[in-house]
Symmetry: C3
Subunit: 527 residues, 3 copies
Amino acid sequence: MHANSPHPLLHYKIPNPNLPTFTPQPSSAVLHLSYPNLISSNNMAPKSSVAGALALFLLCFNLLHHAAHGKGYATTGLTSAQQCHLDRIQASQPTHRIESEGGTTEIWDQKEDQFQCAGVAVIRTTIRPDSLYLPEFMNAPRLAFIERGRGILGITYPGCPETYHSEGQAGSKGRREEAGERGRGQDLHQKVQRIRRGDLVAIPEGAVHWCHNDGDEELVAVTVVDLNNQANQLDQRLRAFFLAGGQGRSEGGVSRINFHNIFAAFDDDILAEAYDVPSEIIRNLKRDDGRGFIVNPQRRIKVMVPEEQEKETHFEEQRRGRSSRSRRFSPSWSREGADNGLEETFCTMKMRHNMETRRESDVFSRQAGRLNLVNMNKLPILGWIDMSAERGNLLPNALYSPHWSMTDHRVVYVTGGDAHVQISGPKGQNVFDERVSQGSVFVIPQFFVTVARAGNNGFEWVSFKTSSQPMQSPLAGYTSVFRALPLQIITNAYQISSREAEELKYNREHQTFLLSPSRKSIRMPVA
Amino acid sequence: MHANSPHPLLHYKIPNPNLPTFTPQPSSAVLHLSYPNLISSNNMAPKSSVAGALALFLLCFNLLHHAAHGKGYATTGLTSAQQCHLDRIQASQPTHRIESEGGTTEIWDQKEDQFQCAGVAVIRTTIRPDSLYLPEFMNAPRLAFIERGRGILGITYPGCPETYHSEGQAGSKGRREEAGERGRGQDLHQKVQRIRRGDLVAIPEGAVHWCHNDGDEELVAVTVVDLNNQANQLDQRLRAFFLAGGQGRSEGGVSRINFHNIFAAFDDDILAEAYDVPSEIIRNLKRDDGRGFIVNPQRRIKVMVPEEQEKETHFEEQRRGRSSRSRRFSPSWSREGADNGLEETFCTMKMRHNMETRRESDVFSRQAGRLNLVNMNKLPILGWIDMSAERGNLLPNALYSPHWSMTDHRVVYVTGGDAHVQISGPKGQNVFDERVSQGSVFVIPQFFVTVARAGNNGFEWVSFKTSSQPMQSPLAGYTSVFRALPLQIITNAYQISSREAEELKYNREHQTFLLSPSRKSIRMPVA
Amino acid sequence: MHANSPHPLLHYKIPNPNLPTFTPQPSSAVLHLSYPNLISSNNMAPKSSVAGALALFLLCFNLLHHAAHGKGYATTGLTSAQQCHLDRIQASQPTHRIESEGGTTEIWDQKEDQFQCAGVAVIRTTIRPDSLYLPEFMNAPRLAFIERGRGILGITYPGCPETYHSEGQAGSKGRREEAGERGRGQDLHQKVQRIRRGDLVAIPEGAVHWCHNDGDEELVAVTVVDLNNQANQLDQRLRAFFLAGGQGRSEGGVSRINFHNIFAAFDDDILAEAYDVPSEIIRNLKRDDGRGFIVNPQRRIKVMVPEEQEKETHFEEQRRGRSSRSRRFSPSWSREGADNGLEETFCTMKMRHNMETRRESDVFSRQAGRLNLVNMNKLPILGWIDMSAERGNLLPNALYSPHWSMTDHRVVYVTGGDAHVQISGPKGQNVFDERVSQGSVFVIPQFFVTVARAGNNGFEWVSFKTSSQPMQSPLAGYTSVFRALPLQIITNAYQISSREAEELKYNREHQTFLLSPSRKSIRMPVA
């Protein structure tokens, strides 16, 4: 029977509709042999050996794909050892979507070869106006790019001082009077930051972060988590630990995610004792009311951040320079007796950098476009987490020079326009050849050569890099490898004349990275 | 047939003679075959196919676990890529026990998920009075905690000077006279150190170490080897290379371990030539007389260490400060012409730190207990090997605040008392919920949240960390994340009142890490 | 039964419809399928189930080895997680051979356990006189040792200045006149270096390198690529990206390699636009004329390098010291506005060091031989790529002291003479016992103990190390571990007399690493 039927697919990414019973559970799991599979295959099988054999196959199969425990946000991914099967890369859209009360979380399929190889997870979070993304931390450092909207964000670090005084809330007055030293209706907490469209935010591994959309439109953030980072001593699977909330609704197959916040694992009485509070409060900590990870506050949140109290006309300048610097060195920041000796490292580090600032462009061409690079020299925290980012803008029909990265993988998220992108593997095989547009994500693996040509509306993207000091090697332009090669090497390598070699070497000698559309070239439509 | 026969052994050290054809090669098991699965497939499938199926299964199974070559002390472990299957962690006791003439070696099962994930091996060594643990080195750095007894220890490093003069032995006089420059009955060798109960000892990868129990009671050391350390370029398997001894008796199934010292692999004549000695001596180097790794010396060993010649009444002070410091900078340590230029790195580095010193406590609370942290700031060699340790003591019913580590895995060894420990995974699942007591070992994985409450007799432990600068983030106490969060975020995250949020934030505001038992809490018995 | 039906895919990326029986693809072999197991289980199982079972087995097997994509130069290797199955190491010869127009490329089998464990690829390149090795880069840093011949070599780096002026070529005059500023028949390009027999060359990952044999004999280079290096964020597979050429002829099974240069993957019109050149030139870039990676230039290449214009009688001194230094600090090297800020790092770094210079020997013994070590202190670029090398020469019958490396794997390439080499594993098992001679390659894994005795004609080798600061621990000689041990430990460990222990400790006290043949030893023939 089964021998003649279409064969069970060996590639775990392509479910085969014809084999209901043998369909490997996506979540199958390594150690944890999956019972149902085994049993159902037995049921299906005739007395022959096929059943056992297939069952075994599935066993082996399951054993092989030892990772995917369930599909929650927390452990979406599945990884064994890092593997780079990069014969074919494809731009992709998120495959999982989790609905919360106040927004949605979309996750790209971590099992895709490109993400496996780069060791990254990609997430897009949408927070509706007034909603609150609940505090969580992850097992690896990440960079978030604010694609749309504005909000306030907190990244807390143990031992960092509580240097911000916000207003407290009505109703807590009595309590505050008891605890007199916190005085006059104020609440002390760690630094809170304003974020806006175009910001890049660095969040170290294990640091709790929360975010509140206090703007008028949706706040959309695209996040890349560098799971392969040395800071993560667990395996390459994404793990998110929420301090509140739980149980969102998942669209994409699973009706309900088995997910709780971290307090769910502890006994009420132990927590009550740890906090020295009545156990009713503990039950609230653990409460799982299906609101998910993003919630609608009962009362409007009003946390102060410096920018809001200052005149905002020159905010760009302030953000870049003076205000943030003076804030960092202000006496209110110094405080003796912090516990982790971190005041001069994390506590005062800038975590955020705006990438839209035109006058900060690192590459700028009136004919081709511009690039804003944010590496550890611009944002020192990036040296700590060993990541960086690039914000790019290509004018219509302009090109990104063919080049390769010597240092990092890049995860490209398209924010606007479209482009025709090609990537070459080590044997000259074309591994990527697509027209990408808004919302597409693809990985350019380290060393793989790539080129992009913007469409008629230009092309805008942000790319996240797995190195804090990325370096790329262009094939055209004045920093290109052809410029570096002696003419005689070029002529002999390609059996061309000196004149032709000089054209290769010098025709783009006044441009680098971004190349203007040339007049003589013929545009061919892309299939 | 086979379904009813004794099951294939899952433990690779215990060959089962009853299963000739299906016997997994000793090297099998790593992934914790789950019995129930195996059985159900047997029951369902017809007899004829079961055999082949099982055979295949086991083959696949074997292929999957391609690691365990042989069974000695040296390669007990077996690892493929690092995997963190942490749905269920369990406190464990050693599973292997090797008897030597002068003591025993107990090894925890490296195949346990918790040790696989953390990339560590755990060993407890017991050396009887007067016995000698023979010189060996391992493929990764390790920390040893002296749980009981005292002794002397040598860690030798190539190129470090021979700065210690011990007495030679009777009978070698003639020889010494020939080699006149070593003069007057003395023997030159590298530094030797006194170790005592409560000491933490750092042993770098590849460095030869030996240990002699010159006290009156058993010397017990618990060692954690950081196999995942960058210094180890081999895979994650534990490898011990002994320079002498061999062939201990193993209890736990195997009658005799196939283990020799490293000289066994070389030809007699080559060794005789390398040492320029008669081959009778070489035969002694290679001799394997079943005494194992810990032997009884024929003559009482009397190696001098500074402490023994000095007045010992203030030894604690000496150990901590002056004596060791003056020793390090004494002129006898300087020596020109050493080969590896290491005199200022390893050669004079302190390798040892006592963790029992009460006045060195980093956290101290009359109501809750104390913590002694030993990181690279206290013991600089830890920066080199990227490990650290914590010695803790909880008073009866006190708590270790719920917290997670941002930097490292922790291997906890319980030295006394008991505690109820809980650990939460990323989806709020409880992955550990046990009452642990003396001798238990468990891993708290990086980022996983844990809490502990001491029993009625208190709780004492040492934990070994896979980072030289560990940092943890508490959930309660004055460095907690709640303190760092604005009140409005807490109220809205948990739908609680400001008053309740302030209780969470401030009720433990004068404590950190260790929390005293609260009067209002209700103690519930643990199931 | 199932044998005749279309088979489930063996390799999950390459569907094979024909699949004769169960032959594993040649690319399989990594995990040492144990045939005996397979066969015995077949015998036991009834016929009907065997086929399916075997098929399944092979499926599992193939799934396990999900790596081997084809066999070109670019991705010869196959790696999953690093695994060290080191029960038996064997000296090996290259297994793949690619013929190009101007020379040959020989590749050692990356699937061998020893190379898998060390994470290295080994390549020998032979360039015939006048031929040109085409520009390429690889996904990991490498060290090349010039075994024979001489040539010129370029290593280009993006952003480094074009500081060399070569003569242009006839025929390009008109063009050059147009582009007046490059003036008078000269061509500007990056630094070019002379290489000779005995040179060690360091090539960072991602840096384009080319090489021209301008001597009278074949230029032979042995290269070790450190795939396990942190600089490589892809997996452990070797990937070479050629900028020109393609399609060599392979001997060793495959008739034709599916290999192109990186331009093959891109559309003509995009490239034409990127270079702003007519598409005829682009077709030349992509042309694949079966000449392979090493080509015969149409016109004799004449690139100037400093040494050729200077008096060469003292070239050794120049190479070592003054000339290169003055070159580095010459004003022609300073240039403002380079793009990667690399002028003071890569751009002026010495990439090359001659290892034959007798007066630079680090160990020198009239009776035993000499060692030249090149680590990061001699050649700072090695600190960057974290590799180093050793050039050794043993006189007839002399020994390399038994020792182990504390820091690195070593890949030994024998350049002359022969030696009897033994390696011991952690359980004293002999894992290597061979007489090696010219052209043999073997790996000495980190921590494994090894000894070598030269044959009657002496022994010459170069070894490549996976650490920039290698350290080894000898068992004999004046830096040996026995010297470091107290005499009483030695006597008790081996149950020998003090006199015998002193012989072990001091008989070689005036030698280190290299040991002269002793007169009293008996030479036994090696089987």
